[in-house]
Symmetry: C2
């Protein structure tokens, strides 16, 4: 194992994985090494470019904090997140489609009762969101956990503020006996993903805009059903066809309707996939 | 650009690179996206594995500091570093071969005169290192900058100690009029790359040892010649055939000879590639 050259080194690295006890780890690492090496070989990566790559990855990791996940942004803008979601959420016709999680989900958010105002002071136009959680046959799913989060009208999630006093525009509800839910919040608006880190630099270098169309995040969990991570996107948004993270599904686009009292209303039902109906 | 699926998303991401002004950036990003997606598709990466990958990359970035470069370790153990070196250092026969830079080089190290002791208190057996810097035709290269660094007998570089008072076992010398150099230091010993970070976890998961065979690092620069980044490896080391970072070249293995006075001696000449002789 001396004198490895560009033609022999890949096999030498793969051979070093021979003792890996977990077959899945071995398969993942084998594919990763092959593609990483193929990338370097195909581009004839220079030493300066390699070093720039190391610096970029380091800066990306160092930009991460409890409230900022720059590597998820990177995965998102490279389409890796949506590809992974697409591969793992091939649900039967009629189920609500999944989309990216994004980096702004916070575990164990505050719990709210029906009709509560999740905005909790977040800046934006008021709206009500109503709908039902259903099974594939239309049966109501009672007691589903509905985790909701969104940016405010300034395009920022609560965790992006320097010192958020308390969670804003996020919370967890439970569906009622008829599968229904109902809460108040603010109207979703389009926003740019943060561009003050390495991922912003990459977008600038490739002349890509950082905008995401207006959306409301949902993660819904219920016993006997696959967990659903998705958004509802706002009809009419100019970025629906160029989402910076490639997440838009036509079936997830809905109208926020302005009511006579000036409050907007969004009506949207979610259909979960029973765990027994998992597509192969 | 809605409803992208696992078959269409790669082309959509590549299309988003269309306006990239720098052709090289565009080529690198195109290849990167293709291989990243191919890796995910080929392994049918799960969402849990994707998240574990995000966590691994984040932890790798956060382990980096002014004196620790975990991403270079990662590149090293995956063979990417040595592949990049091999592709970019295809020198004419007779030139000293290159190997990996590693993460422990420090820019602007202290300068020493001929015969000085670079160890500066580093723990290990004393030795002298002597040699010449030559051109391909055997002509001496005067005034070459010779940057040297190494681990001590405890397997640690100075920057790995919690509070190094001053640089140890590293420094910069200049070759004399006859191309010669001559300094004192300590004998190189095998050492494990640090395993207290994410890369150590990866090595454990794949049952790989973290050892590097004993070596002395050199980076040599001289006007009119390609810069050379290399090691001299110690003959007889048990890890010469299983270097954790795949860096060993047979031509770089040399004897540290114990002299009658107990001081070891290493004699090694370096042959630089004139910049005009760059192989295509």
């Amino acid at each position: 194992m001396r004198n490895l050259n560009q033609d022999t080194i890949t096999q030498a690295v793969l051979a070093r994985l021979a003792e890996t006890p977990d077959a899945r780890v071995k398969a993942l690492m084998t594919s990763l090494v092959q593609h990483l090496h193929a990338f370097a070989r195909e581009t004839r990566l220079t030493e300066a470019e390699w070093l720039r790559g190391m610096e970029f990855l380091t800066a990306t990791g160092q930009k991460c904090s409890d409230t900022r996940q720059e590597f998820i942004f990177l995965s998102d803008v490279l389409g890796l997140s949506m590809l992974t979601v697409a591969m793992n959420n091939d649900k039967p016709q009629g189920c609500t489609e999944a989309t990216v999680l994004g980096p702004f989900h916070v575990a164990d958010a505050r719990r709210y009762a029906h009709g509560a105002d999740l905005a909790n002071g977040a800046f934006g136009e008021p709206c009500v969101v109503r709908g039902r959680v259903l099974g594939l046959g239309g049966e109501p799913i009672a007691g589903a956990e509905i985790d909701v989060w969104q940016a405010d009208a300034q395009g920022r999630y609560d965790v992006q503020y320097d010192a958020p006093e308390q969670p804003r525009a996020r919370g967890i509800l439970q569906s009622g006996a008829d599968g229904s839910f109902d809460f108040r919040t603010i109207v979703a608006e389009a926003y740019p993903i943060p561009t003050d880190g390495p991922v912003g630099g990459l977008l600038a270098l490739t002349r890509r805009h950082p905008w995401r169309p207006a959306h409301l995040h949902f993660r819904i969990e219920a016993a006997g059903y696959e967990s659903l991570t998705t958004h509802v996107f706002r009809e009419g948004d100019p970025y629906l066809d160029s989402d910076a993270v490639f997440g838009v599904r036509e079936s997830l686009v809905a109208d926020w309707v302005r009511q006579p009292d000036g409050v907007y209303a969004l009506d949207f039902d979610f259909v979960l996939n029973p765990t027994t109906c998992r597509q192969p």
